[in-house]
C-alpha cells in the first residue's frame, strides 16, 4: 500500500481488506431448493451456518472463495438460535478470525455473504442495538442478539458480521425474525457450535412448572436474608414432572436455582441450560413464607 493515501482511501482499503480476509472463510452453503445461503468456516473442517437454510443433511455442496468445492454433512442444529454445524468432507480453506471483544452499539460492521459463485458480497453499517434475552418460538430463549443497519441481502443468512478488521462479531440470520435479520453474537454462536459439534444438539433443561412473577413482601425478603424484589409463584406443577418428583408444590414461590436468584420467568429459562440436564439441582423456594431448598433432577425439554 502506498504511504501517501489520505485517511479516507486508507479506510476504504481497510474495509476492502476486511471483506476479503473474512470473505475467504465465508462459504456458500447449498442445502435448500431456493438460492444458496452462507456459512462460516470457524473450526478446522467445521462450518457454522443458519439452521433454517439446511433442508437436507448429507451431500451439501460448500464452496470457498478460492473456488475450492467440497461437500458437507449436518452435525447438529439448534432451532432456538437458528444455528447449525456442518462437517466438511475436506478442510478446504482458511478459518475466520474471531474478535476478542463483543460488538458495541455504533461500531462499524460489514455483513458478508456468499450466495453465488460471483464472489463475496458485503454491506456496510453499524451495530444499531444489542438486545436480549428474548423468548423465541418453541420456548427457546435467545440470551443476546445484535441488530445492525447493514442490508441483509438474499442468501446472507449464515454469513458473518465482521468488524473493520474482518474479525467475526456474530452470525447473521433472517430465520428468527420474519422480514428482518438479526445477528447471533459470536460468544453465543461459538458456544452453541461447540455443543452441537459434541452432542449434535443443544439440550435445554425442563422443570415442568408454570409460573408468574410476584413481588416479594418485606417479610419474605427478610426470611431470605437478601434484597430480592420478586420470585416466581408456581401456578402449575405438571404431574410426574421433574418439579413434582422433587417435591415442588402449587403455591410455592421459586426464588433461586443452582445457587442463583430467580426473579422472572426468562431468567429461569436462561438458567435451565443443557448442563443442568440430569443433574440434581438445588431449587430454593418460599413455602408459607419460609425459605426451603429442595433437590430437583432437571429433565430435558423435548
Amino acid at each position: 500500500m502506498s504511504e501517501n493515501l489520505n485517511p479516507l482511501m486508507a479506510f476504504s482499503n481497510a474495509l476492502a481488506d476486511a471483506a476479503s480476509k473474512a470473505g475467504d472463510a465465508t462459504v456458500l452453503v447449498s442445502a435448500r431448493r431456493r438460492m444458496p445461503a452462507s456459512g462460516v468456516h470457524y473450526a478446522p473442517g467445521l462450518v457454522l451456518t443458519a439452521n433454517h437454510t439446511i433442508e437436507r443433511e448429507e451431500g451439501i455442496p460448500v464452496l470457498f472463495g478460492s473456488g475450492a468445492q467440497t461437500t458437507a454433512s449436518l452435525v447438529g442444529r439448534d432451532p432456538a438460535s437458528d444455528l447449525a454445524v456442518l462437517r466438511l468432507e475436506q478442510a478446504a480453506g482458511p478459518l475466520i478470525g474471531r474478535s476478542a471483544q463483543d460488538g458495541r452499539v455504533g461500531q462499524l460492521v460489514l455483513s458478508l455473504g456468499r450466495p453465488s459463485e460471483g464472489g463475496i458480497e458485503a454491506s456496510l453499517g453499524v451495530i444499531s442495538s444489542v438486545g436480549g434475552p428474548v423468548r423465541m418460538h418453541g420456548g427457546g430463549l435467545l440470551e443476546r442478539f445484535l441488530r445492525t443497519d447493514t442490508i441483509p441481502y438474499p442468501g446472507f443468512s449464515g454469513g458473518p458480521l465482521v468488524d473493520a478488521e474482518g474479525l467475526v462479531l456474530g452470525i447473521n440470520t433472517s430465520g428468527l425474525t420474519p422480514g428482518s435479520s438479526l445477528t447471533i453474537p459470536a460468544s453465543l454462536a461459538w458456544s452453541v457450535a461447540e455443543t452441537l459439534a459434541q452432542h449434535g444438539k443443544v439440550r435445554r433443561g425442563f422443570l415442568g412448572v408454570r409460573s408468574q412473577p410476584v413481588e416479594l413482601p418485606a417479610s419474605a425478603r427478610q426470611a431470605l436474608g437478601r434484597e430480592q424484589a420478586s420470585g416466581l409463584l408456581l401456578v402449575g406443577v405438571d404431574e410426574g414432572s421433574p418439579a413434582a418428583q422433587g417435591g415442588l408444590m402449587l403455591g410455592d414461590v421459586l426464588v433461586g436455582l443452582a445457587g442463583q436468584t430467580v426473579e422472572d420467568p426468562d431468567a429461569l429459562l436462561g438458567m435451565l441450560s443443557g448442563s443442568l440436564v440430569g443433574a440434581s439441582t438445588a431449587v430454593e423456594i418460599l413455602r408459607g413464607g419460609q425459605p426451603l431448598t429442595l433437590s430437583v433432577v432437571v429433565g430435558e425439554r423435548k
Binding site: N6, P7, L8, M9, F11, S12, N13, L15, A16, D17, A18, A19, S20, G23, L110, G118, G119, I120, E121, A122, S123, L124, G125, T150, I151, Y153, P154
Partner: protein
C-alpha cells in the same frame, strides 16, 4: 482516535465537494430528471440513455446555468448516452484507472453516489461495493457492473459512483429489489466515449480513422 475520525469525515466531505461541480442535472423526460456528469471540459456530458425520453434534453450545470443539449450518441444496449452543451467547464469527472492486472474496484471499498434522487438536488449517499459481476445486454454484450448498498432512487440514474479518491468507478443505472444499487463500471463508459469520439462506426465509412464522429452520430441520432 478522535482526530483520525475527524480527518476521515473531513476527507469524505472534501472528496464529495471536489466532485460536485462536475455533477449535472439532465432533463430528458417530461416528468422526471436524471443525473449526469461533465466528462470533458469542452461540454461533453455522460448520462444514462434511459433518462432521455420524449423531449429535447437540457443540462443544468452545478452553477445553475441551463443549456439545451445535443445528443451525441445514445446506446440503448448498454444504457449510456453522450450529450454536448455549448460551453466550456472548469471541471470534469475523472474515471478510476486501475493498474494493470488489478481490479477496478474491490468488494468492501467505500463508494459515494451523487445524484438527484426523487428530484432532491445534489444528494449524496454512502456505502460500499457490495458485489461485482457482469450482465449480458440484449445484444449479448457482457457489461461489468458494481452492486452497492449506497441508497439509490429514481433521479440517481446517470450520476457517478465515486471511490474514496473521488474518481468515478461506476455510472448509477438501476435499483434491484429496492435496496441494491447497480452501477455500470466506469471502464464501460470510457470505452463507449472513446468509441463515439475516436473510432468511426461502420456506418461512418466515409470518415477517416481518428476523425471525430460526434457530429456524424449526432445527425444519425436525431
Amino acid at each position: 482516535m478522535n482526530t483520525q475520525m475527524f480527518n476521515l469525515t473531513q476527507e469524505m466531505a472534501q472528496t464529495i465537494a471536489a466532485f460536485q461541480p462536475s455533477l449535472v442535472v439532465v432533463q430528458g423526460k417530461r416528468d422526471s430528471a436524471g443525473a449526469g456528469m461533465v466528462w470533458q471540459q469542452d461540454g461533453l456530458i455522460l448520462t444514462n440513455n434511459h433518462v432521455l425520453n420524449g423531449r429535447a434534453p437540457r443540462v443544468i450545470l452545478a452553477d445553475g446555468r441551463s443549456f439545451a443539449a445535443q445528443i451525441v450518441r445514445r446506446d440503448e444496449d448498454i444504457d449510456l448516452a453522450l450529450l454536448r452543451i455549448e460551453t466550456k467547464t472548469n471541471t470534469t469527472a475523472t474515471a478510476a484507472h486501475p493498474a494493470a492486472g488489478q481490479a477496478a474496484v474491490r468488494t468492501g471499498e467505500l463508494v459515494f453516489a451523487l445524484g438527484h434522487p426523487w428530484g432532491e438536488r445534489n444528494f449524496v449517499t454512502a456505502g460500499i461495493v457490495s458485489g461485482q459481476g457482469e450482465f449480458k445486454t440484449r445484444s449479448g454484450r457482457k457489461i461489468a457492473y458494481i452492486r452497492t448498498d449506497a441508497r439509490l432512487a429514481p433521479g440517481n440514474s446517470g450520476g457517478p459512483l465515486l471511490n474514496a479518491a473521488g474518481q468515478v468507478v461506476g455510472i448509477n443505472t438501476m435499483i434491484l429489489g429496492g435496496d441494491q444499487g447497480l452501477a455500470i463500471q466506469a471502464q464501460v463508459a470510457e470505452e463507449f466515449v472513446q468509441q463515439v469520439l475516436g473510432v468511426p462506426r461502420a456506418s461512418d465509412s466515409g470518415m477517416r480513422a481518428g476523425e471525430k464522429s460526434a457530429t456524424a452520430s449526432l445527425r444519425e441520432s436525431i
